[in-house]
Subunit: 222 residues, 2 copies
């Protein structure tokens, strides 16, 4: 399968790109608003993988070009760029594509980090509202610590939660997620259930910052 | 230590009562608005523990009487009874007591279960607002499945998150929580961080109801 990581030059995009390239046979494309930056990062990822004995081609493109070539498009951009990123690639999408939304809204105050939902209710819903009606959106990969994901020496042993209103699209993303060693994908229901899923991310930061020796946390349902 | 479980005749109260009586030397008191009901349930818990070779005295009282006798008072009541329960026992409390709030607001719709915060922002904050100014409140035990907790044959192997603005009170509850075998207590910061903690509960229900073979879920941070 061809996976485009839009915003694939950022932290979470890097982690997902490296993991998919390392653990699976999927073809990974890096997207950025700046195609030169996408190509530079793609080469960095190739070098990192090559140093681990994995010879793989990772190509960088402007976001629209990456989306055009891919079956699954991950919106690995900050929450405030989700809607405009989807709108910028909308004419490259069709009903055979799957959009994946891993972003979450976070607000910080003196006490800690808090879930800050956009007015759509969740970032996943924001992406779904911006997407063409026939293109399914799946919320996933919200609660993965980027540093741990990008460190191919780090064991995961954690879960990621999926929310979607299209069961086929959810299944596609479930298989992609479980291709990553140590990652278990669990179904958290429809997009209406996204706020509680996205809200785990600030909680993980709060727990890590209040307990000695805990960092880059993930979550496991047992 | 003496622990009063107000609403200790309900599911989560039963689980905590049995676990503390089974795993620790703390004295457990059962509180209810109806003292006769409290005494009946206390006897049931004694019988259950006796069948497992644990001889322990558990007494039942009207909520105010239970609170009066205890060092730590757990508000194991539905969220809409938290404020009136605290107000009803307020004159029995002093600065040496610790109140514990395990309740969470949950709303159900067609998609699943959602966190429904009271206007105070969280149920823990609601309890803190209702409590006398010198009585510390700790949010804890939100994400424990009652059935699993009350089944002394069930392994836990899960975490509970603590939120409080009083570090001494938080430490008291941390020690109580970790007295329960298989339960790890993690610090999630101040009461302002309670919404994300309380929001795990509806998420656990959504995950359990959407994945075959998962039920009575807890969460572990790794």
């Amino acid at each position: 399968m061809r996976i485009a990581l839009l915003g694939g030059t950022g932290d979470i995009g890097e982690g997902l790109a490296l993991r998919w390239a390392f653990h699976t046979d999927h073809e990974v494309l890096i997207g950025s608003r700046d195609p030169e930056r996408a190509r530079t990062k793609a080469e960095e990822y190739e070098t990192e993988l090559d140093s681990r004995g994995v010879e793989v081609s990772i190509k960088g493109f402007e976001n629209g070009m990456a989306a055009d070539r891919a079956d699954v498009i991950v919106l690995a951009v900050p929450p405030y760029h989700v809607a405009d990123t989807v709108e910028a690639i909308a004419d490259r999408l069709d009903g055979a594509d799957v959009l994946v939304s891993p972003a979450t809204g976070i607000r910080r105050d003196d006490a800690g980090f808090h879930y800050h939902a956009p007015s759509a209710g969740s970032v996943t819903k924001l992406a779904a509202d911006a997407a063409p009606a026939d293109v399914p959106v799946v919320g996933a990969f919200h609660n993965l610590a980027a540093g741990r994901l990008a460190d191919l020496d780090a064991d995961l042993g954690i879960d990621t939660l999926l929310v979607a209103d299209d069961e086929d699209a959810k299944e596609t993303v479930r298989l992609l997620a479980e291709g990553i060693e140590g990652l278990r994908a669990l179904d958290a229901g429809g997009i209406a259930n996204a706020p509680e899923v996205e809200g785990i991310t600030p909680l993980l930061i709060n727990v890590a910052s209040n307990n000695d020796g805990m960092h880059d946390l993930g979550v496991r349902f047992e």
